[in-house]
């Protein structure tokens, strides 16, 4: 636990730094002893996991910190053996069924039933229910989500589920309605700054205010990222200067610039090799879409083009989710933008010419 983001992660509700009102609410809810299934959603690094940990801590005491790695094995319909690792304590288990890919339905069915099916023996000492934390719920396939909805109701008496998701849009409505949705707002830049400064102070690392601001800006309200960057600065002893940038972000940025610089078929092929490099390095297609969109829309001259671009980005991202080869859809998106952008530029040049005459 030598990373700052692990070390300075609050363990109880009292230690939380922001979203305090919500924290109070959660604390009270847990104190009541019972609560419905929960769905935490919010961007990465907002503190969803921290809050869940606080809840578990509040519920079961320090016992939840005693984690062990459990290995579960499943057999799929096609007799393929699957292996899933789960963090578990005596009171809760944390799984990421999405790791099983398209077989996540089986994980949900087998594992959740297995855990939820058993009753705890001495009810007076322990809580009546176990908690199942399902991380990356947004990556669950539709099948798995459907598998989950009935299970949730059926085993209400023995288990509570806490779903973690980046956004609710990828969850089926049936699931959303079964859970109490709790949005964890990302910390404001000011709050990020506060947390970072606190950590720096404890670590006895002095940075200029300018530097802190830089990190905060880079981190994009992702507290984990901010802490990581701060730590890198300490390790590299950068008190005033740019912290090392993420290579993939740099690379994607360059790719975006390539798209804007020149719109031609040959350029598309070059962009493609770059996109391949990104995909090969396990950067998810939706993140590429997102970042590219943000970069390209800044270059769009008018609101019409921006909306058009946004629509295209959404459309192709959706399609890439439906398909299996993201490169096709990414390139289609790039081609779409290039076509629009080029025609706009051409018109612009034509207008200029007409004006001259």
């Amino acid at each position: 636990m030598s990373l700052w983001c692990d070390r300075y992660r609050p363990k109880t509700f009292k230690e939380l730094d922001y979203n305090l009102k919500q924290a109070k609410q959660l604390q009270r809810m847990v104190k009541e002893g019972d609560f419905p299934h929960l769905l935490f959603w919010g961007t990465n690094g907002a503190g969803k996991k921290t809050r869940i940990n606080c809840i578990l801590r509040e519920l079961y005491g320090s016992g939840v910190d005693k984690l062990r790695l459990e290995r579960h094995e499943y057999t799929t319909a096609s007799n393929k053996k699957l292996e899933l690792h789960a963090c578990a304590s005596n009171y809760h288990i944390e799984i990421c069924p999405a790791d099983a890919g398209i077989h996540d339905r089986i994980v949900i069915q087998e594992l959740v039933k297995g855990i939820a099916g058993g009753q705890s023996l001495n009810n007076d000492k322990q809580k009546q229910f176990k908690v199942i934390v399902i991380t990356e719920a947004n990556r669950l396939t539709k099948d798995a989500q459907h598998g989950l909805r009935r299970t949730m109701e059926k085993y209400m008496s023995t288990c509570r589920m806490i779903l973690l998701s980046e956004s609710t849009s990828k969850l089926i409505p049936a699931l959303r309605s079964r859970c109490l949705g709790i949005r964890v707002q990302a910390p404001s830049t000011e709050e990020v700054k506060q947390c970072l400064m606190q950590a720096c102070e404890i670590e006895r690392f002095e940075m200029t205010d300018e530097q802190i601001n830089r990190i905060v800006k880079l981190s994009d309200r992702n507290l984990r990222k901010a802490l990581l960057l701060g730590e890198v600065c300490k390790v590299k002893n950068i008190t005033n200067g740019d912290p090392p940038a993420y290579d993939w972000e740099e690379f994607l940025d360059k790719t975006g610039k390539m798209i804007l610089r020149n719109q031609s078929p040959s350029q598309i092929l070059q962009v493609r090799t770059n996109l391949y490099e990104l995909i090969v390095r396990l950067i998810p297609a939706n993140i590429i879409f997102q970042k590219l969109f943000l970069q390209l829309q800044a270059a769009c001259p008018d609101i019409h083009m921006k909306t058009k671009l946004a629509k295209a980005a959404a459309e192709f991202e959706h399609r890439s989710n439906l398909g299996s080869k993201p490169i096709y859809h990414l390139e289609a998106f790039v081609a779409r933008f290039m076509a629009d952008y080029k025609s706009f530029l051409d018109e612009f040049v034509d207008d200029m010419d007409e004006d001259e005459f």
Binding site: M1, S2, L3, C5, D6, K11, N44, G45, D65, L67, R68, E83, H85, C87, C96, T135, E136, R139, L164, I202, R224, K225, L228, E231, V232, V235, K236, P244, Y246, D247, W248, E250, F251, Q263, P265, S266, I268, Y276, E277, I279, V280, R281, L282, I283, P284, I287, F316, R319, L322, G323, S324, K325, Y328, H329, A332, A335, R336, M338, A339, K342
Partner: protein, 893 residues
Amino acid sequence: MEEQDEYEAWLAEQVAANQPNKQDDEFDVEEDVFAEIDAMEKAMAEEEANASQGEGDLVIDEPAEENQQESFTNPFEESSADEANEPAPESSAKRKHSENEAVEHAAKRTRMDIEDFLPKPTKILRVPPLDSDFVRLCSEEGETRYVRKVPHYTHKIACSDLDLGSDMNLLGESMFELKLKADDLREEMEMHALKIKSLSASSGARSNQGQTTEWTSTYRAKKYTELLSDEYINRTIIKWLKKWDPCVFYKKSAIAKKKEEAQKKMTEDEKKKKRFKQAWSENMAEEIDEEDPLDRPKMKILMLCGAPGLGKTTLAFVAAKHCGYNAVEMNASDDRAGAEFKRRVDDALTNCSASNKKPSCLILDEIDGVHAASAKFLLSRIKAVETKKKKGKKNEVGPLKRPIICICNDPYVPALRELRKEALIVNFNGIGKGSKLFSETVKKDYFQPFKDRSKLTARLQEVCDQNQVKPEAGTLQKLAEKSDDDIRSCINALQFLSMANEDKSVSIEDLSKCSMGKDQQRTLQYALKEILAVGKNKTNRLQNVIDIARQYGETDKLLSNTFELCGEVRAPSSMEQLYKSRDWYGWADQMTQFVQKNQHYALEAEKVYAVAGVHYNIAQNSEVEGVLKPQNVSWEMRQKQMVRENLLESVRNGLNMVTRKSFIGFELINALPNVLSMLEPNIRSVNPSLLSKGEQQALQQCVGTFVDFGLTLKSVKNEETMTHNMVVEPPLKIITSFPDESKKAKRGLTQQTKLLIASEIEREKVRRMQLTMDRGITNKALQDISNTGAAVQKTPKKNECLALKAVIRPKAPKVEEKKTFRRGGLGAFITKTKREKPLPKENPMDETVMGVVEEPAKIDPGVGTSEVYFAFNAGYSNAVRQKITIEELLKNI
């Protein structure tokens, strides 16, 4: 006489063709017989077909075979026979000489010989001669021939000139001698044929054990010296196998002996140095587990990884044989699941074959396909320790006493994760060149072949020589390139190619036509060209393309190929069109996924419309020139992605629990670049004791990160500089770094610092292990107390504070006493006390805040009354005098 000349010329030609070396035109007639025999012999020896053909020619052009000849010549025996010899203008010297010989042999002759000796009717013509009289002859078959009439007197003169010694000595040599000569020649030929046979047999002998003619098994290296792999790798493996000698053959290795001797001599100082050195002995193969009672090497198994066809299996077998083992192979063809696997492994490891008294060495080929359960079993066998044999427990197996070699293509398969830690991993990256796990530069991927192919081509040349294959210059080099150094496919291709031509020559052109595991189809080529260009049939081109796609069948392949190849054709002028083509690809992709998910395979056929759509938008007007190379970029990319996925998965599983919880999904990838830069702290490369406080902290921090992420530093050989370099293992760099020209070469840590970190990592691991063990005890103690209800449980606020283990001694006289563990010294721990200050909440790392707690030292209540308790034999004792400061306590945590 023109006819005559013509005929003679023809004869000369015929003879010359048969026996180009010996013949002079002048000797045509006399030597004809000899030549004929010669030619026949030769022909027979060489090829049946050729011979018969040659004979046929002779019959037609010169129907002078002996049987026929008689029937032709009978009526004119005298004249034609005489004639036959007449025109030969021989040099008299030669004649003389041959006559002498002939006289010597004359007595031995029989009548038979003379009859044999009847001259050949060489003056038989197919067309009537113009310049002289002739006699028309008719054979039984109805063929007509003409024989020239020669004036008698010329014959007489010739005869009187020639007929000196013997009556019938018309030829230069007697027939008898000719026969002898022919016999000699025949014998010689036979000898020659025999030689060839034995030669080919001897070259085949290498292989002929199983009567196999398949070259890849024939030319598999049998001896250590025949290995093509890098000497360094070979040596590493042999070294490792030799490390087993003390265990398997009960003899001390030379190194161990040396060490013992050296140890006797060493002074204290030297010993210290030695220990320091040993800590980072860079070659894992060198390491012997000193604590191991069986003298086994530290790494119990050897893992050979590398691309297919580089000779991993061969190397394993050769090395095992070289070191005196009997290689027992298990590969994917064997049942490797469950009990069967266990049985076989145990059999191999504990028994030895009756016929072969050598100890066995288990070679597990293709281990990357093994089930996780089997891998786990293997691991348990490796880790098994000596147990006292209990009666009744038959299944109990002792510790591993035989070397195991695992062979795999991808070491990062999840099933092998645990096994990898116990294995000496040797990466097998190419032939005759160094091995290196992951090259520093990003462009080279780790399965990148190496450029130096001289060793491989030399071996291929050898194979060619032994099989009389004549490759064109440069072919072998090209072959090696094409196969990416895959020896197996090289030899296979060579064997195949050598069949193509009768003379076993192999040309570069043949090679380019030959497929080497990569799909190259004419039909694909054709289909691609049709799709990428508008053909002649412009009116109905969409239907045409659809038909072609249907015929070809594999629409996905067509699509991915055209996708990769669209740079080859002239791009459409408008971006809109370009976009539309890309849209079709997306549509097809969605379709594929949909079909697979819902199993609507009927819809699969509809995908051809995507091909048509692509064609409509990007096809160029002129025909595509040149050869379109079939592409498998997307497949390659997928492979690369898989490698990284496996890698990431192995990293994820190696993560410490807390870290694991906080880096889910993409966050881990996102954090990796930062983590990697954290692994290179700013530390001067000096002796660890000279580091400043800040540096020590940085070092600790860095080591902590290493351990949290389950990473280590591993020494890897650099092929260019031949030096060893420490790199992070698993190689995260391949995930985080991008190809970038402008990237300035970052100055990494010095070797010394890396060594320091590596040793600290090991130390930290042990420390943590101890910590969890201690914590187990602590928790137990806490539970005991809470059960008795004697004390209120106080949970530490921070995990770090837990390290200071506030424990209450179970049956302590004073209930409120807290205990603190301490490692070192007596390996014991101390307790204290109400006087201890509460620890600062936020700052577990900081030592200076604490200050020294002096009270214990000042008060010193005397032996046996101290409040400081040490763990001692299973219990506790306070009858120990030792001054201890809190600082010391903290230092050891």
